[in-house]
Symmetry: C2
């Protein structure tokens, strides 16, 4: 490697350069490009396939506030915790319980599943479970910087959610009354992402820390992608549902 | 549920009943039935697909002695540890380093991969990594009984390995000189399984413990199965290799 490139590999990135690197991870690896999402947006999924998706992704949704509690537990700064705490509220709701998890259950019900089928988490694909648990493990075992950076997939979710809501309404009208989860995320995710991005830019003063943040976002993209790999494998070609996996009746 | 069945649900199983329950888990869920193994045994895999399999399964092989060290660390009985220690030796080898891991590298080389491609673990599918890490987590967080019971997939491996060696020799003759790993496992696995089965039958005096052992074997079958799900998904249909995954050149 030429000497000037070796120096460049250790130079601290400017805030704009770091943002650009994070952005490029998302463009290459965020799950907006995943074959299962492409099928969904082309209107090719059956009701049973949408059930399998909603059921399996419920496991991810159900772990998000646990993930955020692990993040809270890493910070000794009340100001940080006050801001981050909002995420738990967004998903768990207030006293009435009406938060993101409840809204996801309503989406799953719109596909034709019962509440019990969803919340029992029986029939979740092992591959989905392992990927989600790997996210908890990444957050639990990483630094606070890594934990925050792994949330930066929210930088990319707004465009995907906007497209998805349009495509779900167009191709699967029976889901139209179950889209409150996505409506909420349209405003929540960008607010959360802006805070997390500012945190990462401010709290990664060395190139090594910057690279660990970029690596954490890459790992998180892999975790989202692998969940869809498992769903696409099990529910698109016949004969691939693993023993014990949810079997759609429609 | 009828009262006699409720009682039956809490009755301690006889040794023979417990063996039969464990056996039936294997018949239903061991990965001898997985579509990818069926393709392999029918001779349908390309060299590139066998490379992807050998490369990805190397990650599993490389974690086995770490798993066994976690098991050792759970036991306060020198007699148990003396027996279990053999597993680490089998995989890591003696001073010459010639153990199961080295033999697996030779199998991977027979597919056409270089040693570096294999041992760097770059290009391993995230789904395979998460499943293997879930095995380490099961062993680390479970009781010694659960850790030992999760090894009982070795009860079923001899038949699969016997069939596999015959089919690999028949359909993929270029692998014939790379089968030392399987030859070793033909005698190692049944010895190990006999000890582990006796341990489980002796150290699960309550029905609850017996069920936890059966559950651990079920979880382990899911872990093996999910690894093949990820490989089958990425390498059988075109267009499914995730960003960063190994791309066969042949």
């Amino acid at each position: 490697m030429a000497p000037e490139l070796e120096i460049a590999a250790h130079r601290v990135l400017t805030r704009e350069e770091l943002r650009a690197r994070l952005q490029s991870v998302g463009e290459a690896q965020y799950h907006h490009r995943h074959p299962f999402h492409l099928r969904m947006h082309r209107g090719e999924l059956s009701r049973g396939q949408l059930q399998a998706w909603a059921l399996n992704r419920y496991y991810y949704q159900s772990r998000i506030p646990i993930k955020d509690a692990l993040v809270l537990a890493k910070s000794d700064d009340p100001a940080f915790r006050r801001v981050w705490r909002k995420r738990i509220l967004d998903h768990d709701g207030d006293q009435s319980g009406y938060g993101g998890i409840e809204k996801w259950i309503q989406l799953a019900e719109a596909t034709g599943l019962t509440r019990d089928q969803v919340t029992s988490c029986s029939g979740i694909l092992p591959g989905v479970r392992y990927a989600v648990d790997a996210y908890l493990s990444l957050v639990q075992n990483g630094s606070l910087l890594v934990a925050v950076a792994s949330s930066l997939t929210e930088l990319f979710s707004r465009d995907l959610i906007t497209l998805r809501m349009e495509m779900l309404r167009q191709h699967y009208p029976y889901l139209a009354h179950g889209l409150a989860y996505f409506e909420g995320r349209l405003t929540q995710a960008p607010e959360d992402a802006a805070f997390a991005l500012d945190y990462v830019c401010t709290h990664a003063p060395t190139r090594e820390q910057q690279e660990s943040a970029i690596g954490a976002l890459t790992r998180k993209c892999e975790i989202l992608w692998a969940q869809l790999d498992a769903i696409d494998y099990a529910y698109v070609q016949p004969g691939n549902i693993p023993p014990g996996g949810f079997a759609p009746q429609v």
